[in-house]
């Protein structure tokens, strides 16, 4: 992955952001590897390990797929009707590249709107491990680190952040 450019990674992250904001979650699943993981560490231990620290969310690929099923169900009350989200990604950096994987850091602001509610603004950092599969990039690990000291009025992380 020594030849990978920031522009290629940015294109990939922007594409992912669009799929998430448009609730095309089945298509989003196709961006993941067969062993993908998705983590949201707790606000008070952002660098913790999910085997020893209680996370907000720690999914393997099986549970990511179940999460998408849940999110697309009208019985997922927290997200039905779906939140409108709009995420802005910047400060994209290649942290390291090794073999067929690259570790990427980025900052994000994700605005979430729901009925009767004013905006909820999630601010933080993304950390990705991306893998080259053929010509495509795939997400092997996706970690979302929220800056706030507690979730507070952000309430739930009920959508894919």
């Amino acid at each position: 992955m020594a030849d990978i450019t920031r522009a290629e990674i940015e294109d990939f992250l922007y594409r992912e952001a669009a799929l998430l904001d448009e609730w095309k979650l089945e298509e989003w699943l196709e961006l993941l590897t067969e062993d993908a993981a998705y983590y949201v560490p707790p606000n008070d231990h952002p660098e913790g390990d999910h085997h020893t620290v209680l996370f907000i969310l720690a999914d393997d690929i099986v549970r990511i797929r179940e999460r998408v099923k849940r999110l697309m169900s009208p019985e997922c009350h927290a997200e039905y009707p779906h939140s409108r989200t709009r995420r802005l990604i910047s400060n994209v950096r290649i942290v390291s590249a090794e073999g067929d994987t690259v570790t990427v850091a980025a900052n994000f602001i994700c605005n979430r709107f729901r009925r009767y509610e004013r905006v909820r603004e999630y601010v933080g950092a993304y950390r990705y491990v991306l893998k080259r599969v053929g010509k495509e990039l795939r997400i092997k690990e996706r970690r979302v680190i929220i800056d706030a000291h507690e979730l507070g009025s952000l309430g739930a992380v009920s959508f894919i952040l």
Binding site: L57, E66, A78, L154, G155
Partner: protein
């Protein structure tokens, strides 16, 4: 003439609740004086303070406090307020400190609360006695099996008397540990819900809502190979569950488990690899507490409410959850995972993973609870034109009381109403 917020009519088998209780600033002010300043309120767990000098800071009953061990290892609770001008004296969330020094004028308190250094002390000429200016403590501070509570009322009964029969159920939770020692796992879940705090009390034990609110969680369980039986005649839940009055406003559900338990009730979500270790956990439990008690610990689950605002959910995992009003229409929730101190890394990892299948802001169920409570609060804007909440379900039922009825919710509301009538 005290006013009642409930209509409790055993003859008509009718129980109604005045919706003003969820919206009113006046009610909240009275709750502060007559409930939060009179009851034992959960502060923290001994395991959060592993070594001498360890501390955490948090808000308890709305008050900023320091929960710490002093140099000798004794556990304290102090109001996090300088005796000089009132500033917060400990600004960190957790850590290890022998002293707390106020940044404003530099008054420094030892971690047993006594006032040590006062810069320029010689300027005080009159009545100034440092020995009376230690950090203030709540009137009472006591523990049961490492759960520490404060009470702002010096005349309150002893904590163990207050807990009464609830101790039986705390014991069932704590006895999961071979050494009888549980610990709070690192990683707090702290979130707000735009709803009155008492709606969380109801929600934590109300199993009537499970099939509709948590349909997607039940689907997830079923998709993962967990056997979910169709409720038999007269039931709304896959297994039988009871609602049990524990006295003093405390109550619990007591359910036949179907959802899996890290203490020794395997479900496919845990994976085949987990089986041998879970058999071993169960064997240790059987040997230590006997077959009948082991069955209760492993094969039943319970959501326990310690009046007014502590919930221990001993279900898919163990969560210790407390919440406090931030105005009548908002609450702040703190939740932690609890596990045996001697748990192996694989068992601990399984416990935390099981927690996330259901609980917390990213779980498969809690976000829908949050949604339901917020919808209630939004609907209650109409309270003056639609005044009464209907809470008569199962009233007058003979014999066992069901977790899917509202028996236990009525226990809470009767106790709450009785304390508010003292206003």
């Amino acid at each position: 003439m005290p006013r009642s917020y409930i209509v409790d009519d055993p003859e008509k088998r009718q129980f109604l609740l005045d919706r003003e209780v969820h919206v009113s600033e006046t009610v909240l002010r009275d709750e502060m004086a007559h409930i939060f300043a009179k009851c034992w309120i959960y502060v923290g767990h001994s395991s959060e303070l592993k070594k001498p000098n360890d501390f955490v800071t948090r808000r308890v009953a709305g008050r900023p406090v320091i929960f710490n061990r002093d140099m000798r290892g004794d556990i304290h609770c102090f109001l996090n307020t300088c005796r000089h001008r009132g500033a917060i004296v400990c600004t960190e969330r957790e850590g290890s400190r022998r002293a707390f020094r106020c940044v404003y004028h530099g008054w420094a308190y030892r971690n047993d609360g006594t006032l040590g250094g006062v810069p320029g002390e010689e300027a005080y000429k009159g009545e100034f006695d440092k020995s009376t200016l230690g950090l203030k403590q709540p009137a009472r501070f006591e523990s049961y099996r490492d759960f520490w509570f404060l009470n702002l009322d010096p005349d309150a009964p002893a904590l163990t008397d207050y807990l009464g029969r609830a101790t039986e159920y705390i014991d069932l939770v704590v006895d999961q540990s071979p050494s009888g020692q549980m610990e709070i796992v690192a990683g707090a879940q702290e979130y707000d819900i735009a709803a009155n705090w008492k709606l969380m009390v109801e929600n934590s034990v109300d199993d009537y809502h499970l099939p509709s609110t948590h349909a997607t969680w039940l689907n997830y369980m079923a998709n993962s190979g967990v056997k979910i039986e169709r409720p038999s005649e007269g039931r709304v839940l896959p297994t039988k569950g009871l609602a049990i009055d524990l006295g003093n406003g405390h109550f619990t559900t007591d359910n036949v488990n179907f959802r899996g338990r890290p203490v020794a009730a395997w479900i496919p979500i845990y994976g085949e690899d987990a089986k041998p270790e879970m058999v071993e956990i169960r064997r240790e439990l059987d040997a230590r507490v006997g077959a009948e008690r082991a069955r209760r610990i492993a094969e039943t689950n319970r959501n326990l409410v310690i009046f007014p605002n502590l919930v221990i959910n001993d279900g898919s995992s163990v969560t210790v959850r407390t919440f406090f009003p931030d105005g009548p229409k908002k609450m702040q929730v703190s939740a932690w995972a609890l596990g045996p101190v001697e748990e192996t890394p694989t068992a601990r990892s399984r416990r935390l993973d099981a927690f996330l299948t259901f609980y917390g802001p990213g779980g498969f169920a809690t976000p829908d609870d949050v949604e339901a409570l917020e919808l209630v609060q939004q609907g209650l804007v109409n309270w003056e034109d639609d005044r009464w909440t209907e809470m008569s379900r199962g009233m007058g039922r003979e014999g066992d009381q069901l977790n899917s009825d509202e028996h236990h919710l009525r226990i809470f509301w009767r106790k709450w109403n009785q304390m508010m009538e003292a206003v």
